[in-house]
């Protein structure tokens, strides 16, 4: 499946991955891209060549992405949780290697961007000049932007610079901090303005990267393992069963996979509710909104944001977040609503005769006309038959 094939779209896939990293790291959307722009401009200031600038840019954009492979079990100590998080940069380096065509050093910069000059960083506890300076420069940019972000509505870059200088000789190498002070003085306020590296990503399939990342998100929990594949197949089956639905099947299947992005933030306990119950509706709508917000970060994927945001709207107008009704709900979103609910019901205790529930298809059928579009439910039942 390939919907987008252009340099711009691949850049957008990277942008989307960086937004996923933001969600995983608990940052505001756009954080990693601001770090990337700052890191790239700082690399230019340091006199780096085009490849190093591009590597700094992509490594900073993807610096949090490794967290997708770090699943911290519940009920472990704070200490163990902190130690588990040390593996994120290594996982990030491994993920960047699967993207291909990124500058060679990108993986190394991601791997070592949290190392500290004094040897107390992670993952490797490298010290002094064993840490690539470009990786340390990314860490400085990250800390700088994070400090500004933490300052809230009244940010003070000079105060953020002070936080960096305070770590001189401990987290950050003295000479790199010195260069950053010069960069700050020379750049004033334009340190995180939009920046495009001179590096071609020709030949990278942006959608394949995004799909692979959605699969990684699904793999974080046993109950969602393989969910993307199942939803893809189910959406295609529903669309195939009723051509009257008039939806673009590829788009719908792709959007189905993107619903995984809603699982990055929010309260996962909502999954314990019956997928058709009103009880977990707010949490499910919040997940959809979160997925839509993440998708909005990359222009090429923004059209999918509107679709994903509507998956918790109900056909009778009692859904969330906007209480759209009937045909006002995007047709693909109506299909996704059925597919997502049917997948969640499969194998759950809420579609199990032993627990007094009818099977999934019967439960979906009951919700036709209220929660779900009757035409989509009919197609679903036909596909199940």
């Amino acid at each position: 499946m390939t919907l987008l094939r252009s340099d711009a779209a691949t850049g957008d896939a990277i942008r989307l991955l960086s937004a996923i990293g933001d969600a995983l790291g608990g940052h505001e959307a756009g954080f990693a891209m601001r770090v990337a722009q700052t890191a790239a401009r700082f690399a230019l200031h340091r006199g780096a060549n085009a490849e190093t600038v591009a590597a700094s840019y992509y490594a900073a954009a993807l610096h949090e992405i490794g967290a997708v492979r770090v699943v911290v079990p519940e009920n472990i100590s704070e200490r163990e949780a902190a130690i588990a998080a040390w593996d994120a940069p290594v996982a990030g380096a491994a993920i960047s290697a699967t993207i291909g065509r990124l500058p060679h050093a990108t993986g190394d910069y991601i791997r070592w961007h949290r190392e500290a000059f004094d040897g107390t960083g992670f993952p490797d506890k490298l010290r002094w000049n064993g840490i690539p300076h470009a990786a340390m420069a990314i860490n400085i940019a990250r800390a700088f932007i994070a400090t500004i972000e933490a300052q809230g509505e009244d940010p003070s870059p000079p105060e953020a610079l002070f936080a960096i200088v305070g770590e001189c000789g401990r987290t950050f190498a003295i000479n790199v901090v010195r260069e950053f002070r010069e960069f700050f003085a020379a750049t004033a306020t334009g340190f995180d303005e939009p920046f495009e590296p001179e590096w071609s990503l020709d030949g990278i399939d942006g959608d394949a990267i995004v799909v692979a990342m959605c699969n990684e998100i699904d793999a974080r929990e046993e109950r969602t393992l393989g969910r993307g594949e199942r939803l893809d197949a189910l959406v295609r089956a529903i669309a195939g069963a009723s051509p009257d639905l008039r939806i673009d099947t590829d788009r719908a299947a792709f959007a189905a996979r993107l619903t995984s992005l809603g699982r990055l933030r929010g309260d996962r306990r909502a999954d314990d509710f019956d997928p058709l119950a009103r009880l977990g509706r707010e949490a499910r709508a919040a997940a959809s909104a979160s997925a839509a917000q993440t998708l909005s970060s990359a222009p090429a994927y923004a059209p999918y944001a509107a679709i994903v945001a509507q998956t918790e709207e109900w056909f009778d107008g009692k859904g969330l977040p906007t209480r759209r009704k009937g045909e006002a709900i995007d047709p693909i979103a109506r299909v996704l609503a059925v597919a997502v609910a049917a997948d969640a019901l499969q194998g759950s205790m809420y579609a199990n005769a032993a627990n007094g529930y009818p099977e999934a298809s019967a439960r979906i059928a009951v919700a036709a006309g209220t929660q779900f579009d009757p035409a989509v439910v009919a197609a679903y039942l036909k596909a199940c038959a």
Binding site: I83, D118, D124, L126, G169, R170
Partner: protein
């Protein structure tokens, strides 16, 4: 002012883990381990690790980070290390020889206090963690001597507290017996059987290049500010009378010979030296692979 080396050899536990995980290696020994943070990383990922070194404080650090599975330092125990305890007489003149040369009077006094406190700790694990934590303080002070205006001026005990607390977070377990020993490579390699021997060979003339931060800390641990560690290197297989390429290659060969029982041997070198090391490894391993993720970080991997 003491010279602090610009170049630092990069020994990356995560990279090493990537390499050995691909090959199904479950245990590893490093007979020249140095500061064993790479072994700590491997241990955290379930690899059984063993190490050896001739510098005693490296071995002590290994006892804290590699052998020790559970012992951490509580706040009260850290306080017992970093502060002068009432009622105890301290050898505050022990490091007077460094006063005004490398450190201030206050710093030298603290070095004496810490020396006494660390030697009074109750377990090898605690001692190892304290040594590593305090070593970071020494490095900080030496660095600050070079850049007095750019680095924060922190009270010694506060700095020591922070570093010891940071270090004791590295303690982990892999539910296996991991060892470190103060021994030469022959003793280390004959004491354990592992899937892999990892060697990051000391450079030729290593003693001349020994980082001040390493030998000074050994001097601190031994309680002798005038200690030199040149003889450590001379006592090894690398410290031959003639320091030429041939002697060095023969020394590497003798390490590889001692490592013959292991199915794998991984030699870390640079891209420029990779072919030379591959030639040395070839007589001992039929299957040679060179992996070079970075020009300064190249691995010659030999398989039986």
């Amino acid at each position: 002012m003491i010279d602090l080396g610009e170049r630092t050899r990069r020994v990356s536990g995560s990279r090493l883990h990537d390499l050995i995980a691909e090959r199904g290696i479950r245990s590893i020994v490093d007979p020249f381990m140095g500061m064993p943070t790479h072994l700590n990383y491997l241990k955290r990922h379930g690899i059984i690790v063993h190490g050896g070194d001739l510098v005693e404080w490296f071995v002590r650090a290994g006892e804290g980070l590699v052998v020790n599975d559970f012992t951490v330092l509580r706040d009260s125990e850290v306080a017992e290390i970093v502060e002068m305890l009432p009622g105890r007489i301290y050898p505050i003149d022990l490091f007077k020889g460094w006063d005004g040369v490398f450190f201030s009077q206050e710093q030298c006094e603290y070095l004496g206090v810490w020396h006494a406190n660390v030697h009074n700790l109750r377990s090898d694990g605690q001692t190892g963690l304290a040594i590593v934590g305090l070593w970071h303080v020494l490095c900080y002070w030496l660095q600050k001597a070079h850049h007095p205006d750019e680095m924060a001026d922190l009270p010694p005990s506060e700095l020591a507290w922070q570093y010891i607390r940071a270090t004791e977070r590295w303690v982990c377990t892999n539910n296996a017996r991991n060892t470190v020993r103060r021994a030469d490579f022959n003793a280390t390699l004959s004491a354990v059987r592992t899937d892999c021997v990892y060697i990051a060979p000391p450079g030729r003339n290593s003693a001349k290049k020994a980082d001040a931060r390493i030998w000074m800390w050994e001097a601190w641990w031994q309680g002798d500010p005038y200690l030199n560690i040149e003889h450590y290197y001379r006592d090894t297989v690398f410290g031959q009378r003639t320091s030429d390429d041939g002697s060095y290659d023969r020394a590497i060969s003798s390490v590889l010979q001692a490592a013959e029982a292991s199915p794998y041997v991984v030699v870390q070198t640079t891209a420029a030296e990779a072919e030379r090391f591959a030639k040395i490894v070839r007589p001992f391993r039929s299957d040679i692979q060179i992996v070079s993720p970075h020009p300064e970080e190249t691995y010659v991997i030999g398989k039986k």
